[in-house]
Amino acid sequence: MIGVVSYGGYIPRLRLDRMAIYRTLGWFTPATLAVAQGERSVCNWDEDSLSMAVEASRDCLAGMDRKKVDALYLCSTTLPYADRQNAGIAATALNLPAEMATADITSCQRAGTTGLITALEAIGGGSRKAALVAASDRRETRGGYFYEMWFGDGAASVLLGSQDVIAEYLGSHSITYDLADHYRGAQKRFDYMWEERWVREEGYAKFIPQAIEGLLQKTGLSISDFAHVAYPCFFTREHRNIGKRLGLNKDQLLGNLHLECGETGAAHPLVLLVTALERANPGDRILVAGFGQGCDALAFRVTGAIRSLPPRRGIAGSLARKAPLDSYAKFARFRDLLDLEYGIRGELGGQTPMTALYRDRKMILGLMGARCTACQTPQFPPQPYCVNPECGAFDQMEEYHFSERLGRVVMYTGDRLAVTTDPPAIYGLVQFEGGGRMLLDFTDCALEEVSVGLGVRMSFRKRWYDKERGYTGYFWKAVPQANA
């Protein structure tokens, strides 16, 4: 039996009330009121597709043996690098072994389901044993149109394999048509969209049923055999209509999450799959489809092993963990739709040294420190002499991971002078449980929520962007945990 072994989800904490968009830009595009209900998820200013993929994957790998993962497929249409493997950055951040296959699967909205099928086929063929598929998107839109309302940011991750399978893979079916409902030329920042009515009628309404029909024929199942059917379609009415045409009842069809977070691009089929897994009972069958220049459809059957999967945040937990983004102006700044003056002192000239970054890749991307084998003191950054004044041993360090450990605030501040996109800059000294401490930026919190002694968890974040050279740098930040 092969199939899903584990899952994880990440929807960013910030939500923008769609009416906030409408209140700012409705004078320009009054028609958007029609979809201005609910809220969309928004990356914090220090998040992007890659950082979200890492967060979803950490969630997915909770309780799993990372050393056994032998493939990582990163699926997204909004990855930071056009040429530098993004999956390789994610694998380093996740402290996965170097002896593995990695690939970026991109340039189509169904990249996520394509990643799933590719991984499942590799496992079915025996060439891979444990493949992690992470799908993530943070789609860029110009201000003042429907897409800004429809889209949300998010990621989901699924670990596939042949042991402790929680959802058995039953088969898949794919169709391909070069229907460009939208396209984004290389070097272009925004999509170019064709008329929505045509996309609905000739695209969604035809491809999704066709792919599902093909899957049913292949597997010998009927639509009523499925407890959960999930496919993306941000046209909410059309989403329901397709369900009716397929003969789905209300309980079978998973909502498109428009009200909760919006459509998360290439991640959306996986976000929906994780949602289905969160709700499923052993024996339930799940059908999930991805749409984009055709359609992929996959079928799974949930096993009893799902009951023993350790608890995780998932999509449900991500949706519950939320904070309002208080203005459209912040949204616009976070997404670089609004160019603000950062002042001369904000100019961070100079290039990032690739040599140093490669040498210290485990430390910078993976938050790898060291532990002195003489006195057992964890320390960061790793250095030749032990930091413990009572020890001082030379060259007796072993690798030590900090990223999954809980820390506590030793000292902190909210700094109004430090140059940052979302002042005040909150940072502090964090002491980790089990030892070791480091200075860290804090994120996803308000200053009033922070106090000395408060617990923090680590989160992988975008740290700087060198616009001139197109370089995006990453590191870890501390996220204060209420009641921790």
Partner: protein, 403 residues
Amino acid sequence: MATGIKDKVAVIGMGCSRFGERWDVGAQELMVEAFQECIGDAGIDRQEIQAAWFGTCFDEVNVGKSALPLSATLRLPNIAVTRTENFCASGTEAFRGAAYAVASGAYDICLALGVEKLKDTGYGGLPNFGPGMGSQAWLWMPNMTAPGAFAMLASSYGAAYGIPEQELKRAMARVSVKSHANGVLNPKAHLRKAVSLDDVLNAPIVAHPLGLFDCCGVSDGAACAIVTTPEIARGLKPTSEIVTIKAIQLALSNGSEAQFGAWRGDHFVTTSKASARAYQEAGIADPRKEISMMELHDCFSITELVTYEDLHISERGKARFDVLDGFFDLSGTIPCQPDGGLKCFGHPIGASGLRMLYEMYLQLLGRAGERQIKNPRLGLTHNLGGMPFMNVSSITIVGRHQE
């Protein structure tokens, strides 16, 4: 066994420029302003200087690298000149270089000069740390500012001793009010304005919990000293009081505060050690009784408050009671920042350490005018460069020469 340099080196001349936003002058003019006063005070000829040390911090926006700017500006007679840079202790390091050279017998007369010209950058404040600043720490360390880094200390100091935020803020405010009151009396200060406790307490936050009056500013300035042996000093100034160096000590962090678990963020590890060593070098047994006056590195009010404890003058966790008692006021037991401190002078980094010594020197010679402290015997200066958890701390003690 080394015993230090107590009474082996005398200060025979000092000078200090006016501090401020000196749009009118560059680093050269600042150096000359301080030097002309100093050489006049010393009563020697420029050609008699045998070696010099030059303290500056930000060469990128200031005078550039090497000690050539000092040698060329003063047209020194092709002597040895060395540039020192050690964050906020850069000026004190220049002084230490000159003092050690005399104490060793290598030279008879040496010059130490510190200068920083910061107002040619196009923005307020010191340059941001980032690529091109040497270390790779910017790849992962928070983009901290100095107010933010010291504000963190306030959070952990308050937590360690269970001091409510409002109580700590009030003690810090009292520290500022005292320094501003002193600065009013000083014509060389950048800001000469008394402030009320209300003005300070009502001021908005710069970095939580530090308010506007808890933070120092940037300015341009220069200060210098000429040192020699006590014998030569006596020959040059047969009738006047001679000031000699009692101790110079530095202590630098080794990473344990920021990377090891023991430190609670409630004190300066370095200052505590440097001051203990300085007292030993100077033969001081009870600093609370023996030190007459101090110029501390009051870059932030919390720094000054916590430093009282690390100088072993106030009890741990209780400096605020001394502050509120007026112990450090100009009229108090150990006046602190009699010249107004960094709060009134700003902080041209390379100059600050020598500016502090200049005030101690004036006070010891009875030349401090309206600020004059009655009959001071020993004066202490302190610099702290870097951040509370990773810093350079220096202590200098000067006093009347006892023959």
